[in-house]
Amino acid sequence: MAAQTEVLAGFDHAHRPARVSMRGWLIRGLALLPVLALVFVLPAQSDDWTNDAIYAAIFAMVGLSMNVLVGYTGQISLGQQAFLGIGALTAANVVNTGTNAPDPFTFAIGIVAGVLVSAGAAAVLGAIALRIRGLYLALVTLVFGSVTADAIFTISSLNGQDAGVPAYRPTSLQGNFAFYVFALAMVAICIYVDVWIRRSKVGRGLIALRDNELVASAFGINVLGYKLLGFVVSGAMAGLAGGVYAFWSQEFSDKNFTSSAGFSLALIFVVMAVVGGLGSRAGVIAAASFFALIDPLFTGFAHHTGWLNWYTDHKAYIQNLVGAVLLLQTVIFNPGGLGQVLRPFTRWFSGKPFSLHDAGDAAGAALGGGDSVRA
C-alpha cells in the first residue's frame, strides 16, 4: 500500500483517477451529440412528436420523484399519481383565467403552488408512513392515492365538472416546442436537485435509512425527519410534473386520476422506476420516457403494419403486457435495471475511464438491500 506513505494533507486528490484531458472531454462532448439530437432535434420534427416529447418529460419528472422516494428513501409508493394530480389540480385552479392566456407571472405562481401543495400532501402521507413499513405502507399509499382521487379530485368546484379546469399556457409558451423547452427546463431542475441529493448528506442519509434505520440513527441521521424529507421532495417533484401536465393538456380533468385510470398510472410509475433501476438517475429517466412514449411508438408501428384497429382496441392490455414483461425480466435477471445497462456510459460521460466492469456503484441496491416487508 504505497498510498499509506503519503502525508495526511495530501490525499484529497491522491486516489482519484487521472483527470480527463481536453481531448477526452471533446470526445465525450461529441458522443453526447446523438443524445442531444434525440432530446432536441427529433421532437422538433412534428407538432405531434413535440407533444409526445412533453409527455415524456413529465414522466421523466415523475420517474425522478419515484427515484427519490423508492430508490433513495426505500419507501414503496403506489399512490404517486395522487401527487401528479394534486400538482395539476392546484396549478390549474390557481392560474384559471378562463379562456385567456395567463401572464407569465400568474403561470409561475400556479406551477409553484402546485409544487408546494403537492409537497404538503406528501408530508401528510409521509407522516402516516412514519408509523408503518413494508406491505402496510404499500397498502396505505394505495389507499391514499385512491382516496385523494375520490375525495378531492371529484369536488366539482375544483375539477371544473365535465369540462375540466382550463389551463391555458402563457403566450410565450403557446407553441408546443416552446412549452417543450420549458418542460425540459423543469426536468433539469429535478435532475439538479437529484444530483445534489446524491452528492450531499441528504442522499447519504436517505440511503442509510433505506438500508438500515438503526445504523442510520447511530450515524446521527434523524430517520423520521429524513423519511419525511424524502416524501416531501418526491411529492414536490411529482407536483411540478403535475403542473406541467396541466398546462400540457391545457386542462385539469379528474378522469385522468380517479379509479382505474389513476390506479394504472400508479402501477406504470412503479414499473418504470423498477425497470429504470432504482437509484439510477439516467436509467429512471430513460425508462420513464420509454413508458410515456409506448403509445405513440406502438401506434406508429401498428399504423405501418396495418394493425392499427386491433392495437387501438387492445392498447391498455398491450401496454400492461410490455410493462409486465420488462418488470419481470428486470427483477429476475437484471435487478439493476436499465441504469445498470447504462452505467458504463454514464460513468464515462462523468469523466471516468470507460469500463464494462462495474467497480464502485451499487446498482439495484434499493431492490437488493431495501427494507424487507415485515409483519
Binding site: 414499473v271 387492445h314 409486465a324 419481470l328
Partner: protein, 318 residues
C-alpha cells in the same frame, strides 16, 4: 338509529342485504384467505391473487360457452377447468417468478407479483372473447329458478345460497386438509416458523409450491363464484381492485397473519357493499352518498385503525 318508517321493512332492508352481503363477503373472504396463507408462509404479498380469480372465471366462461376453438363442455366441468387453470397459473407463478427470487428482499417479491398481475391482465385482454359478459350462475346451469323467495318477503338469490354451501364444504375440506394431511400440516408448520420447519425436515420449497397451488385454488373458486350476474363479469383485471380492498381490510383486522381476520375482513367488505348498494338502505344517508364517497369513508376508517393498531385489530402484538 333513525329509520324511515313508512318504507322500512326489516326483511327486505336488513335480511336481504345481510344474506347477499354474507354470501359475497364469504367469497371475498377466500381472496383474503389465499393472501394471508401466502403472507404467513413466506411473507409474500400477492398482488396477482385477484387475477387468479379472473383467470378461473375466464377459462370457465370459455369452456361453458365454447368460445372460438375452445370446446363447449358441461357447466360443472367448465367450472372445474377454470379453477384448475387458476391453480396451474399460481403454480407457474411460484416456479417461474417466486422461486428464483425466494431469497431476495420481500419488497422485490411484491413488485414481482405486481408484474405477474399486469402480465395476466395483459394476456386476458388480448384473448378474443366478449369481455363484459359474465359467467352463468349455478342455478342458471341447473335450470332452476333464479330467486328463492322465502317467508315474509325475504328475497334470497339462490346463487347466494350456492355460494354459502360451497364455502361450507370448502371450510370442512380445509379443516380436514390442514389437520390430517402431511402437506397441510407442513404448510401450517412453515407458516409458523420456517426455520424450525426446515430443521424437522420439511422442504420449504415444496411447501411453497403447495401453498401457491392452494392460493390459486381459493382464488379460482372465488372467481367462478363472483363472476356472475348481477354485478360480476369476466372482464380482465376484474378482481384485482376488489382483492386489494379485501387485503386492506384483512390487514386491518388481522395484521395479514390471521386467517380468521382475513375471512372476517372479506365478509365485512361484502356487507358494506351490500348495504351501501341496497336499493333502500336502512342507514339514512348512506345510499344517497355516491359510492365513491362511501368507499372513501370506509377507507379512512380502515386507515385510522391501521395507524392506531399497526398490527391489526385481531393481530397479536409483538
Amino acid at each position: 338509529m333513525h329509520v324511515v318508517a313508512d318504507t322500512f321493512s326489516p326483511q327486505l332492508h336488513l335480511v336481504t342485504p345481510l344474506i347477499s352481503g354474507l354470501a359475497d363477503g364469504a367469497a371475498y373472504g377466500l381472496f383474503g384467505l389465499g393472501l394471508v396463507l401466502l403472507y404467513k408462509s413466506n411473507r409474500i404479498f400477492n398482488f396477482a391473487q385477484g387475477e387468479f380469480a379472473t383467470v378461473a372465471a375466464i377459462v370457465a366462461f370459455l369452456f361453458d360457452r365454447g368460445v372460438g376453438w375452445v370446446p363447449k363442455v358441461p357447466y360443472f366441468i367448465a367450472i372445474t377447468f377454470g379453477v384448475l387453470a387458476a391453480v396451474l397459473v399460481a403454480m407457474a407463478t411460484e416456479r417461474l417468478v417466486i422461486r428464483p427470487l425466494f431469497h431476495r428482499p420481500r419488497v422485490v417479491l411484491v413488485v414481482a407479483t405486481v408484474g405477474v398481475a399486469l402480465f395476466l391482465v395483459g394476456v386476458e385482454g388480448l384473448l378474443p372473447y366478449p369481455q363484459t359478459a359474465s359467467l352463468r350462475t349455478i342455478s342458471d346451469a341447473l335450470g332452476v329458478r333464479s330467486y328463492l323467495t322465502q317467508v315474509d318477503g325475504v328475497v334470497v338469490l339462490d346463487q347466494d345460497v350456492a355460494k354459502l354451501i360451497v364455502l361450507a364444504v370448502l371450510a370442512v375440506l380445509a379443516f380436514l386438509f390442514f389437520r390430517y394431511t402431511h402437506t397441510g400440516t407442513a404448510i401450517l408448520a412453515v407458516s409458523q416458523d420456517a426455520t424450525a420447519a426446515r430443521v424437522v425436515g420439511i422442504s420449504v420449497e415444496r411447501v411453497s409450491m403447495a401453498t401457491w397451488a392452494i392460493a390459486g385454488f381459493l382464488g379460482g373458486v372465488a372467481g367462478v363464484l363472483l363472476a356472475v350476474p348481477p354485478s360480476g363479469s369476466v372482464t380482465p383485471g376484474a378482481f384485482t381492485g376488489l382483492t386489494l380492498v379485501v387485503a386492506f381490510s384483512a390487514a386491518v383486522l388481522g395484521g395479514m397473519t390471521s386467517l380468521p381476520g382475513a375471512f372476517v375482513g372479506g365478509i365485512l367488505i361484502g356487507l358494506i357493499n351490500a348495504f351501501a348498494n341496497a336499493d333502500h338502505s336502512f342507514v339514512p344517508g348512506l345510499n344517497s352518498l355516491p359510492t365513491s364517497q362511501a368507499e372513501v369513508a370506509v377507507a379512512l376508517v380502515l386507515l385510522l385503525v391501521l395507524l392506531v393498531r399497526p398490527r391489526g385489530l385481531l393481530g397479536r402484538e409483538a
